[in-house]
Symmetry: C2
Amino acid sequence: MSLPQGFRYAAVYAGIRKIEKDDLALIVSDTPAVAAAVFTQNRVVAAPVVLARKNLAASRGKANAILVNAGNANCATRTGDQVALATIRATATALGVKTENILPASTGVIGVEMDGGKIVDALPALVARLDAACFDTVAAAIMTTDTVPKTAFAEIKSGRKVARIAGMTKGSGMIQPNMATTLGFVMTDAVVAPALLRSALKAAVGRSYNRISVDGDTSTNDTVAVLANGASGVKPTAKAFEAALTEVLESLARQIARDGEGARKLVTIDVEGAASEKAAEQIARAIANSPLVKTAIAGSDPNWGRILCAAGYAGVAFDPRKVDIDMQSIAVCRRGLAADFSEDELKSKLDLPDCSIRFAIRGTGRGRARFWTCDFTKEYIDINASYRT
Amino acid sequence: MSLPQGFRYAAVYAGIRKIEKDDLALIVSDTPAVAAAVFTQNRVVAAPVVLARKNLAASRGKANAILVNAGNANCATRTGDQVALATIRATATALGVKTENILPASTGVIGVEMDGGKIVDALPALVARLDAACFDTVAAAIMTTDTVPKTAFAEIKSGRKVARIAGMTKGSGMIQPNMATTLGFVMTDAVVAPALLRSALKAAVGRSYNRISVDGDTSTNDTVAVLANGASGVKPTAKAFEAALTEVLESLARQIARDGEGARKLVTIDVEGAASEKAAEQIARAIANSPLVKTAIAGSDPNWGRILCAAGYAGVAFDPRKVDIDMQSIAVCRRGLAADFSEDELKSKLDLPDCSIRFAIRGTGRGRARFWTCDFTKEYIDINASYRT
């Protein structure tokens, strides 16, 4: 699929990571783009998040570029604010735009001072490499414990013309405080008004990034930013744009859950029949975060009692005698009791890389939600028992 | 330490577990005891919990005995209510007391029908074995994935006389839905009024069982029950009784956290300087439940950034620049920034079986809370990936 027009990308190794692998990247719109972003809800917020939020306010939602580094979260550091500001100021000078029009983002270890000099020194090489074709290079540069780069694309047609959306993300958990973080960057050449961009992003994130979990930890650096530069000349309807943006973010979010640290399986959880969408989401989240559900999936164990139990502590009222549970489309629980199913058949279906759980409450409730998580394996422990040292 | 007077204990193998190991136990007070209990907050509640709650209400807080089985949680089963009632009815007949004066409790797999006939058949042998010295036999019979039995004792002196408290518990997580459960049984020969017994239990559980976490899952069968038969003739003050009961429950709760599935380390978390005790507890709980903190402890990695980050998503407002963090009494973070410490020294101290985390907010807040958890190792995954099958 083609990329949106009017964007260029570049990545270099600036020496922030210990291993020699691209760790600094730049995404530039050829013209000032309408920009919107959502950030972590953590009380502990990294310096680049504080600055990006400030810049978006100062620029009234306009941005020319995103400067992102991997290898250091620039969080809980003495020099964090200065380093973040100095690096985007140098970037602004190199690009000939205002400092407030650069959005910074960082991912990596928390509590270690970041050497901004390395970034400033690498900028000339970075800017020289800017190219419309380097999208995948940037998607690879922002990876930390990710095992694969994650990208997603959509088109919005308008007569014979077309607007495009291209997104990239990193994160091997929605949510990991130390190697901090989920970052997501979405570029579109659609013509989108600032208010629509913000509302569409909020709605799309609510049904994508906010519906995945790897380990239940919320990072200090989470950022999902969208740049809309209008280069296609196509002005989609609000509904069409939100649908296309949701498609891209949902794909990116699913890719994060599938690539969760140590994970071998993507688990899709559908909750139906709750009193509201919020109640359905709460139940789905409790199931998705239960280490016992996730280890059972890792072991291909059709342990539906753990699913029912996790729903029971989700903080949502329901009658257990009205609950039906399916795993891999096989009925395992009907009206809160064991259904008659073949353990062997289901166990072999649970060995597949895609697992589904359906949790349905009989009755009149129309609240439903879909949520993604991954299985929980020993490799998660391996990766995290010694990430820092 | 001596046991409280006027209680007898027994255990047998009734054939509920697959392996031949005691799975049915009885605790009897020679006289009707004042009884109080707290139960799981899960919406999905096992049949014995429903019945125990009902009996305590019907008897106005009097009980003669506790009948407990391991190997089956008697939860989410067609015949659960009948089986629970039939087994305590038979027990009441065998002991010559009222059915409402027997408290049932179960622990084991969810969603599998329990054969009450096996329990009824085993009752004569069980009752014949009742003996004041069989306390430890019962503590062993209620174990599931526990690696050690867990007991705790306290004395309350009153002049030359003494009242005693003896408690036993099981659970290799506070909180495990499938092998369901934490059970705790506490016997005392102190003279305690019903209202005091209830309030003291509530307070003591609030600072013990409700302050531990292994995996964040809340079971369907959790029960902590206290029987006070007054056999010592000692009537302690409310303060003295609550303190002694808290001491016993805290010890039992700590033993559960230390024996958490796959755990090698007990982690004690102290939060200080929060706005309230509740706020302190919320922060401590978020740290205790963070898989990233727990895997770092498993790897003896002094990764304080993960502790700060977990506190950040606890839902409590605080200024990160006022946070001090110590691990094993070594300052690792001061005012939200890295402190100067020896990684090698701290890493070797984190290899010890007891780890401490202190999270202190500078300022005037007087809320403090202590919380216990365990490290998170690959063995947790081993144990839980195939518990059922």
